[in-house]
């Protein structure tokens, strides 16, 4: 090899090594709330914290639950006892090896009311499921026993808002028991958090990745391929766009309305994936007017849903009236049944409902991250065309959420956050209104079916229950799910391996910088 070739090779290797050492910059629309998993949290917090901590189980790419820190999960024949066999050689960020004692410590901390864990009520019997006993028979086994079988136990353990019941080292808290910083087992560890500004995640060199051929949701291969990830809190959408164009930002979510513009840019690539977030039009079934099912059905028949979804999602989304997201294993042909626009049916149903032109108010907000306002505008236009008088009331998000919580609305353009298991998804909007005013659907039969779906683990039987629920929901029309919001990530062309997915949260492992 002559000196020129040697020099060229050295230069190439040097450049490749330099790019491998470059950090990735991610923009989020707001700062994280804390570094305390599942305690003081929101979606952004979960997304970042779950790079530093991991649970016994996690979601796969399609939403199914699989072992993460566990090697395997065994369920007893009565469906009440779960034995988690832990992976060997997993290290915490401080170098200590994870054992069942750490799992026990973490569990006890979560279940302590002083911790304020968001999901404590999911496991202490207040919302049905109750863990009656936990044990660590040896260093590599952790056993949890429920009072009755539950199909939702593992899914709840994997939930991102529960922080996957992350296993922490006890040095994560100070001597007085207050939170210090996450010492977890994730591929990244906390660098520096500048509140209101940025979070820096550093690669954890001692990380032991789960086995797998590639990335698979929160499980599968999870190697940190860059030395640092910087997360910036940027509230202004125009600034995010400028940052992406200039190369100052590598990854950001953008509103659907900006996708066409970003696709024209040579500096970035636009990646999309349907998420489990569900934009919907809610009806208050206790409203004197909308309590009439015929009127609700008339409204459903008055909407050209394909057109509405195309307008609201800037032609990214596809109509889905089911509470189950389209890539779920439970999304079958029965779930694809939907409302169809039918002017003659509208006329008939309005006459049967005795509708006399009374105005109906649609509440919406103008947050850029959800299609609430465009959905309301297109719905209003379609209803007016069908002879239904609709008005829009735009509220600030906190005010709308207050009205939602109290059930104080006629119609509302709302988005339900992602729930992976169908029973969890139905639980979001179904239940007795006397007890839970925020619930959109109050139907005894539906509640029974959902209850069964939480107890039965057999997939085929669950599928039957969900299919019956879907039929019932379409007939009752307490709300109209429109589509699965599309997770749109704009990514610098220098990045390799980034992919949005159903949980709508960025994953920065298995992502590298191109040489």
């Amino acid at each position: 090899m002559d000196w020129k070739a040697t020099a060229a090779l050295a230069l190439l290797l040097g450049t490749a090594s330099a790019t491998a050492q470059q950090p990735i910059t991610v923009a989020l629309n707001a700062d994280i709330r804390s570094t305390n998993p599942g305690v003081n949290r929101d979606d952004n917090t979960d997304a970042i914290v779950l790079h530093m901590v991991e649970g016994l189980v996690g979601y796969r790419e399609n939403g199914a639950v699989a072992p993460l820190l566990a090697e395997a999960v065994e369920v007893s024949p009565d469906g009440k006892t779960y034995s988690f066999r832990l992976r060997k050689g997993v290290k915490f960020h401080n170098g200590a090896e994870m054992t069942s004692a750490d799992v026990m410590w973490s569990w006890n901390r979560y279940m302590d009311p002083k911790t304020d864990w968001r999901c404590r009520s999911e496991f202490d019997g207040r919302t049905g499921m109750k863990v009656v006993e936990v044990a660590a028979p040896d260093a590599a086994t952790f056993v949890m026993t429920l009072d009755k079988p539950s199909a939702l136990f593992l899914d709840t353990m994997a939930r991102t808002d529960c922080a996957m019941v992350a296993i922490l080292h006890k040095d994560s808290v100070k001597a007085d028991g207050s939170w210090d910083k996450p010492i977890g087992t994730g591929p990244f560890m906390l660098g520096e958090w500048k509140r209101g500004e940025s979070v820096s995640l550093k690669r954890f060199d001692g990380y032991v990745s789960p086995r797998g051929d590639g990335r698979d949701g929160y499980v599968g291969r999870k190697r940190a391929l860059v030395p640092e990830v910087r997360v910036l809190a940027i509230a202004d959408g125009a600034t995010v766009k400028a940052g992406l164009m200039s190369g100052a930002i590598d990854v950001a979510d953008v509103p659907d309305s900006d996708v066409a513009e970003m696709r024209k840019s040579a500096a970035v690539q636009v990646l999309t994936a349907p998420s489990a977030t569900k934009p919907a039009i809610l009806f208050q079934t206790r409203d004197p007017l909308l309590g009439n099912v015929k009127l609700r059905q008339a409204i459903a028949a008055a909407l050209d849903l394909d057109e509405l979804v195309a307008q609201a999602s800037n032609e990214l989304g596809k109509t889905n009236n089911s509470a189950i997201y389209v890539t779920s294993p439970y999304y079958d042909e029965a779930q694809s049944k939907r409302y169809q626009a039918d002017p003659a049916k509208v006329k008939r149903l309005l006459a049967e409902a005795g509708y006399k032109g009374q105005p109906i108010k649609i509440i919406a907000n103008k947050r850029a991250t959800v299609p609430s306002f465009p959905v309301a505008v297109v719905t209003q236009a379609m209803l007016q065309a069908a002879g239904i008088k609709a008005e829009i009331e735009v509220l600030e998000w906190a005010t709308q959420l207050d009205r939602y919580s109290k059930g104080n609305y006629q119609m509302m353009s709302f988005s339900y956050s992602a729930r992976i298991d169908p029973a969890q998804s139905y639980n979001q909007f179904s239940g007795p209104k006397d007890q839970f005013p925020s619930k959109a659907w109050d139907n005894r039969r539906a509640d029974e079916l959902i209850e069964q779906a939480t107890l039965i683990s057999d997939s085929a039987r669950r599928q039957e229950l969900f299919d019956e629920l879907h039929e019932l929901m379409l007939a009752d029309a307490p709300l109209i799910f429109l589509y699965n919001q599309v997770d749109t990530a704009v990514v610098s062309k220098r990045l390799r391996g980034f992919a949005p997915w159903v949980a709508s949260k960025p994953r920065l492992w298995e992502v590298s910088v191109a040489p």
Binding site: S121, L401, D402
Partner: protein, 314 residues
């Protein structure tokens, strides 16, 4: 002077008290609940009630106010509902960021706009006057977020001279810190030039029409001496007051500029807290802003005798 200052500080106490009570009540009149916002769409009435109890929001308004006010008297503004951070250090750290931008921008804007305003008045109706007034009106008319975005696109994207996003504290890295502050300072500087120039011009015009200016010219004084010694000193009072008001206003409210340039300042903290219904932070911020307003105007008043000997600090 000291007595005047003390009297003014004592007089500020009722103002701050009124601010404290009105902010406390008004923020709670706005619909929306911090507990609902924190729990999201899966919240149940029980979980909301639980969280409200833990945050102390289930108690009567009088009790809540009593607790907050008793802590306030000890200099404790409480902790943020959202981040659990102590509020006073949070406000001070954010204020320091905003203050750097505001003070530098207003200082340079005054340095440019005051002489420009005096010259425009001196050359009233000339091409120069029309040009300066036109430019001032234009700068005043452009909203700061739009101006900021234009600068961002030009200096950040087109020329690639300045960073588009991010912030580095001057304390951490002085040179990079300054680089990150250039565009927000420039945005405010350009906007405030318009405000101050118009006031400087108007007040100088008024003075230039007075008899003693005619008398000074009749004495044979040079135009420079007439302008500096007789016109400027007498005309500067209203402009100085305006600078004080601008400063007080900006110190508590450059949220738009901070949002565009991703600066973690006081304005953004306040706006974020309003959206999150973080009551203690909103109360703390508003009280702090009111305090700044009072303090800046006190300093402005105390400086009057320096410019106008007819005014005494009594």
């Amino acid at each position: 002077m000291l007595r005047f200052a003390l009297t003014r500080i004592v007089m500020a106490i009722p103002t701050l008290l009124i601010v404290a009570v009105s902010v406390f009540v008004l923020i709670r009149l706005i619909p929306g609940d911090p507990a609902s916002l924190m729990l999201g769409d899966l919240a149940t009435p029980a979980s909301i009630a639980d969280l409200r109890a833990r945050l102390g929001l289930d108690q009567s308004l009088f009790t809540q106010f009593g607790i907050w006010f008793s802590h306030l008297l000890k200099g404790d503004l409480g902790v943020s509902i959202n981040s659990q951070e102590p509020i006073l250090p949070l406000i001070l750290s954010r204020f320091w960021v905003s203050a750097q931008i505001v003070l530098v921008a207003v200082f340079f804007a005054s340095l440019v706009a005051v002489p420009a305003g005096v010259i425009a008045a001196w050359q009233q109706d000339s091409t120069l006057d029309l040009g300066l007034v036109g430019a001032a009106t234009l700068l005043l008319s452009i909203p700061t977020f739009w101006l900021g975005l234009l600068l961002l696109l030009f200096f950040g994207l087109k020329l690639e001279w300045l960073p588009v996003v991010g912030y580095v504290s001057i304390g951490d890295d002085p040179w990079r810190g300054i680089i990150y502050l250039i565009m927000p300072i420039l945005t405010l500087f350009l906007h405030e030039i318009g405000v101050i120039l118009r006031m400087a011009r108007a007040s100088t015009l008024e003075v230039l029409r007075l008899d003693y200016i005619t008398h000074a010219r009749a004495k044979g004084l040079s135009e420079g001496a007439v302008l500096w010694r007789h016109a400027f000193k007498n005309a500067f009072g209203p402009t100085w007051t305006l600078i004080g008001l601008v400063l007080g206003n900006l110190l508590g409210g450059i949220a738009v500029v901070e949002t565009v340039f991703t600066i973690p300042g006081l304005g953004r903290l306040l706006v974020d807290s309003i959206f999150a219904r973080d009551y203690p932070v909103i109360q703390g911020c508003m009280l702090f802003v009111a305090f700044c307003y009072v303090l800046v105007n006190l300093v402005i008043d105390l400086c009057y005798p320096i410019f106008d000997p007819r005014v005494t600090a009594q």
